[in-house]
Symmetry: C2
Subunit: 304 residues, 2 copies
């Protein structure tokens, strides 16, 4: 199977610490790379993790708090300095374009690549990106300003041809595509060979959901149902539950409840408040509800 | 003597590397802290070096290239999150205010401290900041857009009273200030005691100059004359002299020539191109012209 990897570039929250960067991730699916959020310091972390800048063509911004987008102007500027020519697509609340345009005009004039801003309506769940193999859906979240999560889903894949059967029936090349798509094969003699004897099951279509920043949204569990990996913010521990509610964030336990309610296969927590010097408490509290929980950390790659 | 220290937060140039941050320094003079330039990642480096955010009240921006100012919005935002109430003064080309205002309005609303932008005319040499003990002058530089350097100078200090003489002549308290300022003392009997018998020389007034980014400006040497420490950009080695000229940068050797021409006591080079994995060549070439040269490096503090 193609790789489906989440590279954690930053999993801290608003206040800077030496332990974490502000939010950013690169999602690598096969030879495609997508970025989610772009806090300050993201481009340096890309260098540190040896991730090629030039393969990033789509950047999804969950919401317009600084710790999720202050690294964007630096990244855009660096793309220009590196001689980029490929278009860059940015998906975000429309306010971002308004804020970025004057900066891009001033700081990046003479750049040789176009930037397209795509407006996300954070109140709706809809497909905001689609290509031949994947879709990206927006999921409304509950934060202090318009915020959405993202679900990356692989489209259904083709069945695998069984080499021996293809040779045995001498199936012509031009018919193989239809068989991969599920067709039976009719021999020159008129015999119908059922698809199940010619193919093996397709690889599963994997999925990844990113929910940050947000208060718990149990109403999203049906959209997140059976997701392979759920990244959910876990800014606070139980002891700060009240503060979490006030600031429209989640506790690690609440993140775990969303994972359990969604029947996610694995939970990845992040967006840690700067008050936590270690992550033990957050991890322990999440695991009490959802044992298959891991902690995001800069430099960590999670494979789906 | 009070401390006069330069803290290097970043001394790389435009392209991000894992070796250097973009430009930023904190100048600490006594209990005052000034910042020069604020590239992306500056606030994280402040944390790393345990420099208190709240003591920074004046930020000087040399020019509006991203590697000298992209960290500003994050720092301003963090000041707000930390509950700052003290005014912040930013000295820069007027375009910066125009670019920052909409961002500050959107990202930092509800902040409890005022920000004052002070327009620098980079074509002029003038005093842009002054308090009871220091002045900051702008110095026009030659770059691809309006750029200026900064000279921090301690004002002349008071002479030191000689304790034994003060006691011997029983000089009243109210007269001591005038004597520190250079006055002679007339005894009740009408004898005039010359100041030189009552005081020792004042501590020297120290100075620091920051020149980045710039092509060599020998015409500035008279302004920089006898400066205690000169920070001068040294983006390139001799082998890239042509490229330095094209991009309005300096080689390490040219930086050293400015230091020699200014009769600076010490030269600190920085703003290294990302192509240099080590600094040996840059340092060697500078030292051939000006032996008392050192290399800036993140985390290094230079004491004057």
């Amino acid at each position: 199977m193609e790789q489906f990897e989440i590279h954690i570039l930053g999993c801290g929250s608003a206040l800077p610490t030496t332990r974490h960067n502000a939010s950013s991730q690169v999602i690598r699916i096969g030879n495609k790379q997508f970025m989610i959020d772009c806090g300050e310091g993201t481009q340096r972390e890309l260098r540190k993790q040896h991730i090629h800048f030039s393969f990033i063509n789509h950047i999804f911004i969950s919401h317009l708090h600084g710790d999720h987008c202050f690294g964007l102007i630096g990244l855009i500027s660096t793309f220009g300095l590196l001689g980029r020519t490929a278009p860059l697509h940015i998906y975000a609340d429309s306010k971002l374009e308004e804020l970025m345009k004057p900066q891009i005009e001033f700081f990046c004039n003479g750049m040789h690549y176009p930037i397209f801003f795509h407006n996300i309506d954070c109140s709706k769940r809809e497909i905001i990106f689609e290509d031949n193999t994947i879709t990206v859906e927006s999921v409304p979240l509950k934060h202090r300003l318009a915020t959405c999560g993202f679900i990356f889903r692989e489209k259904p894949k083709q069945r695998h041809l069984i080499g021996e059967a293809v040779n045995f029936y001498n199936i012509p090349t031009y018919m193989r595509q239809a068989i991969k798509d599920g067709a039976d094969y009719t021999t020159p003699d008129g015999d119908v060979i059922p698809n199940s004897r010619l193919t093996k099951d397709a690889d599963p279509s994997r999925s990844y959901a990113y929910c940050s920043d947000t208060a718990p949204c149990p109403e999203n569990c049906e959209y997140l149902k059976d997701v392979d990996l759920l990244y959910h913010e876990a800014t606070f521990a139980d002891s700060e539950k009240e503060r979490a509610a006030q600031t429209f964030h989640s506790t690690a336990r609440q993140a775990a409840e969303i994972a359990r309610g969604s029947n996610a296969k694995k939970l990845l927590i992040g967006h840690y408040s700067s008050r936590y010097e270690t992550l033990d408490t957050l991890l322990d509290e999440a695991k009490e509800v959802f044992p298959n929980t891991i902690c995001a950390m800069e430099g960590v790659t999670v494979t789906i």
